[in-house]
């Protein structure tokens, strides 16, 4: 009985260790999927095996180990490489058209449809 409990405790501890490990590298994947590999064509840092991307993944892991959160890591990389490195563009005067245009087209389309319906 004692041995069973001991084995159970060991397995429980080992699984706990694995969980914490898996959790961390998942976080690296999650962040690196949102980063553009700047020297590759159309690949994310997560997908790429280039030297740049490999180093970037190590750096992200280091930053996580230092206790930085996602936002701080993105901000750090943006300050080094510019807005271009993140896939999700911020709303500023350069990207406002990107965000607003679909909305304008949607409203315009809606007006067209309404007009057509009301004419008939």
């Amino acid at each position: 009985m004692k041995i069973k409990i001991l084995i159970f405790i060991i397995i429980w501890l080992v699984s706990f260790f694995n969980f914490s490990y898996a959790d961390n590298s998942e976080k690296v994947d999650q962040i690196s999927k949102n980063l553009r590999c700047l020297i590759c064509q159309g690949q994310s840092v997560y997908d790429s095996q280039s030297d740049f991307a490999l180093s970037m993944k190590i750096l992200i892991q280091n930053k996580i180990d230092e206790g930085k959160n996602d936002e701080q890591i993105y901000d750090f990389l943006k300050s080094k490489y510019g807005e271009w490195i993140v896939y999700d563009p911020e709303i500023n005067k350069n990207t406002v058209l990107l965000w607003v245009l679909p909305l304008i087209l949607f409203i315009f389309g809606g007006i067209l449809i309404l007009r057509k319906v009301s004419i008939k």
């Binding site: 700047l38 020297i39 740049f52 180093s55 190590i58 080094k80 067209l112």
Partner: protein, 177 residues
């Protein structure tokens, strides 16, 4: 009326997309060496190539008025091409050249220096490439000119140095003061 709206909307769309594409033509987004923050706000640790001691970035950029940080590797061919420019820059009094050996084999790196000469006052190694990322580098070769007194990045070159960049570097160092 309906016909009119169709025509107007098509013309409107064509004009809008024309201007978007026109604007896109003038802008090259990948490979933008524009600096977002020129202030050096990081202080990484690195090991020297020729000894096992560790140093920090601030210690490295302490001597003289200007530092050039050059990221190089023995496996990088363009680094060979730009090496003569670095050797040439070595003669400037106000300048301190620091090498970062990027993802390299120690023996090959030393062989490279022995073969081509050593323009660097200090060489640190970056086996994982993390330090280069901290510097905002894309790869090898890359050259960063730093004003040691204000701890700011003055200029950054991606790719090997050539005659034009070499002249510009000298001019910046001459004019800043």
């Amino acid at each position: 009326m309906v016909k009119n709206i169709k025509l107007i909307s098509v013309v409107f769309l064509v004009i809008v997309s024309f201007f978007i594409l026109l604007k896109g033509l003038n802008k090259t987004n990948n490979y933008s060496p524009n600096l977002n923050s020129s202030k050096i706000d990081f202080n990484f640790k690195a090991k020297f190539l020729y000894s096992d001691e560790e140093t920090t970035l601030y210690e490295l950029i302490n001597d003289k008025d200007f530092s050039i940080i050059n990221i190089w590797a023995s496996w990088c061919l363009p680094c060979r091409d730009e090496h003569s420019f670095l050797l040439n820059l070595k003669s400037l009094d106000k300048l301190n050249i620091i090498g970062i050996n990027y993802k390299d084999n120690e023996i090959n790196a030393k062989k490279f220096i022995k073969e081509l000469g050593n323009p660097y006052s200090k060489i640190v190694v970056d086996p994982s490439g993390v330090n280069s990322i901290e510097l905002g580098a894309y790869g090898v070769p890359e050259t960063i000119l730093i004003n040691n007194n204000s701890k700011t990045i003055l200029k950054k070159y991606i790719g090997p140095l050539d005659d034009e960049k070499f002249a510009e570097l000298k001019l910046i160092i001459k004019n800043e003061n």
